[in-house]
């Protein structure tokens, strides 16, 4: 366990060194969030009765989504990992006295958390300072905030576990681009990155909420914005834990199989 932690620490400080990129990213995310909110407000003005969330709720959802983009963004799978699986350099990593699955897991965690650490605070600070309905509202109650934090941690773990499963599957395909494209598009659509799940038609929403994609950003952001409450919220968090177990088990098994049958490409 200790070696994976120090591996995590190493990759984490690597991620922290890209500061200029982070500032540019913060500005982009701020404008992006503002536009997204303007868009939802336009729909709200048209037919307020059909709006499935509170207006403060959706605004908080958007700001948190922008602040923690790096934690949940589907496209943040590392190209270097795909590249090393493709060109055979992954063999060097496999020679190390480490298990490959937890190593890739720690690496993905470090990348996402380091990028989010640089970016989230300024965005949240800006969003809190914004006037009236446009700003991020303060958390309602300590209990709900604690549940939000728990769901957040589980959400990141599920996202990373899913990503690592994709890496594992990549060992069996020589060209990963197609798989990556399909998976990231599906992830974006089903995890509430394109539009939050409450905006989908009810029957579809019910199905989507059970899928592993809904166990990523959907649960914490909706708990914070007050859309998921009480038993519904608890059930959603439990489902997150279930999917985390399933995805880790699946990823571990696929990776173990890949290790046994591995043919290294390249010379």
């Amino acid at each position: 366990m200790k070696k994976y932690l120090s591996f995590f620490r190493l990759r984490f400080s690597m991620g922290l060194s890209y500061r200029a990129a982070a500032w540019a990213g913060i500005a982009t995310q701020f404008v992006w969030g503002g536009m997204e909110i303007a868009m939802f407000l336009a729909f709200y003005r048209e037919e307020p009765g059909k709006f499935p969330m509170t207006i403060e709720g959706i605004i908080s959802y958007v700001w948190l989504q922008q602040a923690f983009l790096a934690l949940f963004a589907a496209w943040m799978l590392e190209p270097e990992v795909f590249e090393s699986i493709k060109d055979g350099n992954i063999a060097y990593e496999m020679c190390r006295p480490m298990k490959i699955y937890p190593m890739l897991f720690a690496r993905a965690m470090a990348m996402r958390i380091s990028r989010a650490a640089l970016r989230c605070l300024p965005v949240i600070l800006f969003a809190v300072l914004l006037p009236g309905p446009y700003g991020l509202e303060a958390p309602k109650g300590a209990g709900r905030f604690a549940l939000f934090l728990g769901a957040m941690i589980l959400g990141v773990l599920v996202t990373v576990a899913f990503g690592t499963l994709i890496y594992a599957v990549t060992f069996f395909t020589i060209s990963p681009e197609g798989l990556r494209l399909l998976v990231t598009s599906a992830m974006d659509f089903f995890n509430g990155a394109i539009i939050p799940l409450p905006f989908f038609p009810d029957k579809m929403k019910q199905v989507m909420e059970i899928l592993p994609f809904a166990a990523m950003q959907n649960v914490p952001l909706r708990i914070y914005s007050g859309d998921l409450q009480g038993n519904g919220a608890l059930r959603a968090v439990m489902l997150q834990a279930f999917w985390l177990a399933v995805l880790v088990a699946a990823g571990w098994a696929v990776m173990a199989r890949a290790e046994r049958k591995l043919t290294v490409q390249g010379g």
Binding site: A20, A21, A24, G25, A27, T28, V31, W32, M35, A38, M39, L41, A42, F43, E46, E47, K50, P52, S175, E177, G178, L181, L182, S185, D188, F189, I194, I195, F199, F200, P201, M204
Partner: protein, 262 residues
Amino acid sequence: MRAAVLLYGHYVSIHVKSMMQYKGSFLLAVTGQFLVSFNVFLGMFFMFQRFSAVGGFTYGQVILCFGIFLMEFSLAECIARGFDTFSSMVRKGEFDRVMVRPRGLVLQVLGSRFDLTRIGRMLQAVVMFAYGVKAGGICWDIPKALTVVFMLAGGTAVFFGIFLASAALCFFTLESLEIMNIFTDGAREFGKYPVGAYGKRLLQFCTFVIPYALVQHYPLLFLLGKRTEAWWMFVPLLAFWFVIPCYGFWRVGIKKYQSSGS
């Protein structure tokens, strides 16, 4: 001028030929382009399952708007991809070679890349446009058809200007800046709805600073019959002024250019 066009045609044919050497990855990239913007479409589709209009525009009208705007973007991206990846050209010092050749700089940078994979996005734009033409409830006549042509021309010019300006920025920063994504990818993403729906202040910004609204919101009003005076059809052509300051900025950048390659 004729020589320049011929040379550009030659550049394009080289790029197309080289891309066709890898047909598999070409098809995959086209599919990818299609999928990415298909998600944006799905988002719109499900929003309109719930709501019947936004900013006074119905589903069919918004689809028409998005279709045209996406076509403008993909046309510009297809042509001006060389400017989009200009930062690597500057960093590797390839731009020095470009400067010693006896041909125009813009032409050479344009010719350095030609990304046909963008037809994946184009394809989707065309499909949405076709649907929007049918569902938008427009009585088509010659001025309106001409308006669409002007929109395509003006919109391509606006995005071309933005690509040019962000390339010029690389002379000062070496790195391409993520902030410029707001004006390219951000505009493509949020241009799916007419600019007017986002509020008055943004409409003013998109009229006078970066003229997105001139190639999207105002001509759409004319197409839909919300504006009837004939001069509205020429509004998209006004957007061409935007290329002038962008080109000016590019000239300033070239004056300041110091080689960075080895």
